[in-house]
């Protein structure tokens, strides 16, 4: 449908309908603020739709789109923090400090979990987000993040332990 000019817009719309919500959530967990997530998501879709006709199918469309999504989010964070910091890990430290200082109004476990996730180091946050929320298997995650399956499993394990410790501490 996407290859056919007459049907192309309809095909694009179907694709966006299917993935836009989960992609927005994934981006939002990385960049935190809605306005920034909206900008990143729009750029992601424009890149995907422009390049989709030349997509080679070497990976699945799903992992290809999430790879673009993750890279664009990290690139956005890097740009935002370029003046103040030297690396994505430094910028992540700044973001975590900012989140840690934010008071949680609600005592709901969901709110605490959101904050616990935001406080994770960037890589653990990505791995936890893809694994827990998107329920992505490790092979696909390996394609998205370019990391070995063993490394991803270790990151996910550490992320879960840190979240558990945070929840226990703030209960």
């Amino acid at each position: 449908m996407i290859q056919n000019d007459a049907e192309r817009d309809k095909g694009f719309k179907l694709l966006m309908d299917k993935y836009q919500s989960s992609m927005y959530q994934h981006i939002r967990r990385i960049v935190v603020h809605h306005d920034e997530a909206a900008d990143v998501l729009q750029n992601v879709w424009i890149k995907i739709l422009r390049a989709i006709s030349s997509f080679k199918g070497e990976s699945s469309l799903y992992t290809w789109m999430y790879r673009i999504c993750t890279n664009e989010s990290l690139t956005h964070l890097r740009k935002q923090n370029r003046r103040r910091t030297q690396s994505i890990e430094d910028s992540d430290d700044g973001l975590r400090k900012q989140v840690a200082e934010t008071e949680i109004d609600s005592h709901l476990i969901e709110e605490k979990l959101k904050k616990a996730i935001l406080l994770l180091p960037q890589k653990q946050k990505l791995v936890f987000s893809l694994r827990y929320f998107e329920e992505m298997n490790y092979a696909d995650m390996s394609e998205v993040l370019g990391t070995s399956v063993g490394g991803l499993k270790a990151s996910y394990h550490h992320a879960v332990k840190k979240i558990e410790a945070y929840i226990k501490e703030h209960n």
Binding site: D9, F12, K13, M16, K18, Y19, Q20, S21, S22, Y24, Q25, R28, R29, H34, A37, A38, L41, Q42, W45, I46, L49, R50, S60, Y62, I109, E110, L113, K114, R131, Y132, F133, E134, E135, M136, N137, Y138, D140, Y156, H157, V160, I163, E164, I167
Partner: protein
């Protein structure tokens, strides 16, 4: 997307297993995705217009360059020499010639004047008055001849 889901999560703490993941989603403003889709499709469709624009732009550039070359050749062929100016001048009607003379005489350069003199020999505009007999007697003919051009002499019968 469900085909990508891996529901066999490794051992998770109970509170993570029991959570409603939907409740953990960040809310979005109403109509956000619809507006974003319109904006994206509009931008994607605009991208294709420059492809035609590029083609048009290429031909416009090509035609412009060709026009510049033709104009440059035409200008080059119309070199501003005295000869060409004279030819143009000769082709003028009497009325135009008069207007030109009235208005542009001051613009003549010394080259223009010399060129006109070459085209219009001074002899055609000069009456050479023949010498009288007395003058001839008083004049050393030989000396006089040395000061005259051959062309002038041809036209006169020197009275002995």
């Amino acid at each position: 997307m469900d085909q990508h889901k891996d529901h066999n999560q490794e051992s998770l703490p109970n509170f993570l297993k029991d959570l409603d993941k939907k409740a953990l989603e960040y809310p979005v403003p109403e109509g956000f995705f619809d507006n974003m889709q319109k904006s994206i499709l509009s931008e994607i469709n605009e991208v294709q217009i420059p492809k035609k624009g590029k083609t048009v732009s290429f031909w416009l550039k090509a035609v412009s360059i060709a026009a510049i070359v033709v104009i440059a050749i035409m200008i080059g062929s119309q070199s501003n020499t005295s000869e060409n100016n004279t030819n143009v001048f000769v082709d003028l009607s009497d009325e135009d010639m008069q207007w030109y003379m009235d208005n542009y005489t001051a613009d003549w350069s010394s080259d223009d004047v010399l060129a006109m003199m070459e085209n219009d020999p001074i002899e055609e505009y000069t009456d050479i008055i023949p010498l009288t007999t007395i003058e001839l007697e008083e004049t050393d003919v030989t000396e006089m001849i040395e000061h005259l051009d051959d062309d002038v002499l041809i036209n006169y019968d020197i009275e002995e």
